[in-house]
Each structure stands twice: as structure tokens, then as C-alpha cells.
Symmetry: C2
Subunit: 244 residues, 2 copies
DNA sequence: GCAAAAGTGTTCGGAGTACACCCATGT
DNA sequence: ACATGGGTGTACTCCGAACACTTTTGC
């Protein structure tokens, strides 16, 4: 049995994209009282876990992701660390930790990661708790400091998306240009002109057009594209677009 | 007496700029043996410290900076966290920690910050150890995982400098355009054409030309400029230069 | 045939790039 | 007078922004 390091944890903000929404994977947190149907409170947390004593934090984040989705090789990036002395001290948080046999006064560092994947079926139970996709804009008050972590994750995602081609990570392997445009519109909270957007992406050699089209749609079927990381790594120019 | 939290620390990569060099502030680490003149090893560390039990990590980083420089309001940014299980396990590191009365087997999370300031006089002693500026390219093997932290700090600085106006933070309040150009050339490891560079910065409203010139230089004295953060915040357009 | 999204071209202004010479000062 | 870095303009190309209509499919 591997031992946990009880003062280091990772929290993963798992983003998923679907049609025209950005989703986040949340876990139910329900604290029951004495009676079976006696619920003291119910809310949600981000996904996360303590790290094992001999494990790196990156491995811990990948482990959390794998346990939830069964997927490996997911886009995952460390974006910020949270260690405020009061981050676990709200009343419900203390109760939850106590109930869970943990020390609510222990100061825990949490290293924040965000992950990107296409919204799809994931394990719906995780350590006996329910897991579900929730649209970003419908997320209410979360446990601990998870609202703060979530906000920072979105900011990090935005900044990254502005300068590096990671929108693809939120789409299935094959996608249409309209889906790609939508991803960027949602992430960056803006709108693009369709013709200008297509002119722009047409210059990107690492966006490979396929000889394949959508099927089963009630309109002209769109061409499918793939992202090629190899071509990207080879052709990317280190642009000094440089501060402006 | 405030108590330290013995498993959370901050490491600060303090960058300074001078003429045409990027410097980093390092602290001597000399472990003496039994005899007075018996030196077991001598190398360098980044600046850093454990955090106090009730302190935020940002406050701890600012405290380290203040202790070293006497300055407040310095540009400071959290860039990455280091928590590899073996990060303190090199032989010399173990000896040093033992000598210092600390437990070399305790896993310590270190939250990395980088700071930017104009190279200038700083406290030359800190907790009984010597402190000095060292040009980035002359830095050899450092203690612990500090080479890794340093590398990551430079990468973070570069990425930030490409998209946000932080080059100013490495210069005195009033500076010339040639100094500014040099800062960016050093950070980004490239060269710019003087005329094009000036055309570019001329568009930036937050770069304020002063009615003041250099004095005491053996050539045509250059005009001085200031950076206005207020103007920047007001006029910056959130550019979606967007991945390319 | 109609609803729905796919796909396509032109014009204009602004920014990046390449490139060479005169100017003001201290010594 | 000379060495040193300061300061300036033009031509060309490419990119971003604005803007409207035809095409292909499922129903």
C-alpha cells in the first residue's frame, strides 16, 4: 500500500468542449449526518488528490486524470499553486475533512493543473462519489478555494490559447473548421468572421485537411481536418510578436 | 517568534539588468568542516526561504526580496512549483541540510517566483551568507534543483516578455530607447533593427518621452523615456494575436 | 422546396522587414 | 578631428478587418 504525502495535493481543472460549451469535470461532495437521509450539505469539488510519497506531482495529476477518464496522453499543464493558510478553513470544508479522517488545520499546498479533452463519457463514479460535466457558466460555489483555482485555470487556458495551438486538444481527432472556430470563440470569449478565420488557419501547415466529410448532418457536410503536432513543431516560427 | 512551515518554501529568481547583461542574484553556500579553514564544499543557491506558518506564499516571496534589497513593489511573479521527491537528495545538499539542523528526507515543495529589477546595490550579506549578482551565462552548477528552477524562470520570463510590457521592470525609472532595445535583445536572445524597433515602440502610448536627456556620455545624448502603467492599463487592447 | 450550415474573394489600411546616412557630444 | 552611439525615411509585402452570396445536404 503506497502512502500519501499528507501536505501536497494536485487539483485538476479538466476542461471539456461540447457543441458550443466549455465544460468542467466536477465531483459531488455530500456530507451525510447520522440518519441515512440526513444530508448536512451537498456541493462540488474539482478533481484532485494527494500525491504519493514517492510520486512526482505531474505523475499524480496524470493519475487523477487516468482514474477519471481511463485516458492517457491528455494535454495537461501546471498553471499555479495554491497554499493560502485559510484555503481549507470554511465551516463545511472543516467538517468534510474531519469526517474524512483528515486534519483540517494542516496546511496543504495544492498544485493546480488544467487538462483539455473532448467532452465524452468518463467514469461516473470516483472513490464513491459522482462525477459529472458542468458548463463553465453554470458552476456555482465550489468547495475549498476551488472557485479561485477554476478562475485561474481559465485565465491560464486563455493566455495559452492566444499564443499556442491548443484549441485542437478540446476537439476529437477529426474536426471541422466551424468546430475549431467555436472552440476559440468560447475560450477567448469573442467572435470571429468566418472568412477571415479560415484565411488565417489556411496558412497553418500543421492543420491537415482530410479527404473526408461529415456525415448525417442536415446541411452541406463539412470537410474534416486534423492537427499535426509533428508539422507544428517543425514549422513553428518563434514569433516575437513581442508585447505591443 | 514566528514559526516556519517546514515543508513549504519559496525560491526567488531575482533578475537584474546591467549595460548588456542579464544577472541573477545568488547566495554563497559554504559548508565548513571541523577546522576553521576546512571547507567541505562551496557553491551557490538561489535566494529563497521557508514560509511562515500564517503567511501567504506571495508574502513570503516579497519578504525574501525585501530582506535582500530593501525594496518593495518589485515586479514578482509565481511561475512554477517544484516538488520532485529527490530534489534535495544530492550528497552535498543532504550534508548542508543536516548541518543546518533540517531533515534531508522531508519532502519540501518549493514555489518558484521570478523578480525583475535594475541591477543595483543590494544587501551583500543575508543570514550570514554572501550575496552577489552573477551574469546568467556564467552561472555554473547550483545547489539542489536550482539550475532547473533557474532555467524555468528564464523560459517564463521570455514568454511573458513576448506578450506583455515587462522589459521596463529591468531598467531604471528613466531609460533610453537603446537600453530598452538591449533589454529585449538579451531576454529574447535576438537582435532588432534600430529603426524598426523605434517605429514599433513609437506606437505605444504608454511609453512616455521626457524632456530630458542623458548627460555625461561621450556621444550625442539620448532622450529619456518612462513607462506608464496607468496608460498601459487604459490603452491595452486584448490582442488575439492568437496562436498562428 | 426549405432550413441549415459550408464555403468562398476583394478592398483597404496598418504593421513587419530590409536597408544607409547625418548628428550631437566628450575627449 | 575623431570616436561613439543617437536619431531618422522609404519601398515592399503580408496580415487583419470589413463585408454578402452561392452550394450542398437532410427532411
Amino acid at each position: 500500500m503506497r502512502k500519501y504525502c499528507d501536505y501536497i495535493s494536485v487539483d485538476c481543472v479538466i476542461f471539456g468542449f461540447e457543441i458550443d460549451r466549455l465544460n468542467v469535470l466536477l465531483v459531488d461532495r455530500t456530507l451525510r449526518g447520522e440518519g441515512e437521509s440526513d444530508i448536512e450539505f451537498a456541493d462540488h469539488t474539482l478533481t484532485g488528490n494527494h500525491i504519493y510519497e514517492t510520486e512526482t506531482v505531474g505523475d499524480a495529476a496524470n493519475r487523477v486524470l487516468y482514474d477519471l477518464t481511463g485516458l492517457t496522453g491528455i494535454y495537461l499543464e501546471q498553471f499555479k499553486t495554491f497554499a493560502h493558510p485559510d484555503r481549507l478553513k470554511k465551516e463545511n470544508d472543516r467538517k468534510w475533512l474531519l469526517h474524512d479522517g483528515r486534519d483540517p488545520d494542516k496546511r496543504i499546498v495544492s498544485i493546480g493543473y488544467f487538462a483539455l479533452l473532448a467532452t465524452q463519457d468518463v467514469t461516473i463514479e470516483w472513490k464513491g462519489r459522482n462525477v459529472k460535466w458542468v458548463p463553465y457558466h453554470e458552476i456555482g460555489e465550489l468547495a475549498f478555494d476551488h472557485n479561485e483555482i477554476l478562475e485561474n485555470a481559465l485565465i491560464a487556458l486563455r493566455n495559452k490559447a492566444k499564443h499556442e495551438p491548443i484549441g485542437f486538444e478540446l476537439l476529437p481527432e477529426k474536426f471541422t473548421l466551424s468546430q475549431l472556430q467555436k472552440v476559440y470563440e468560447i475560450i477567448l470569449d469573442t467572435e470571429f468572421d468566418k472568412r477571415n478565420f479560415r484565411k488565417k488557419v489556411a496558412r497553418m501547415k500543421y492543420l491537415i485537411p482530410l479527404d473526408e466529410k461529415q456525415t448525417g448532418v442536415a446541411h452541406k457536410p463539412a470537410r474534416l481536418y486534423m492537427f499535426s503536432r509533428e508539422v507544428y513543431e517543425k514549422t513553428k516560427k518563434d514569433l516575437f510578436d513581442f508585447w505591443v
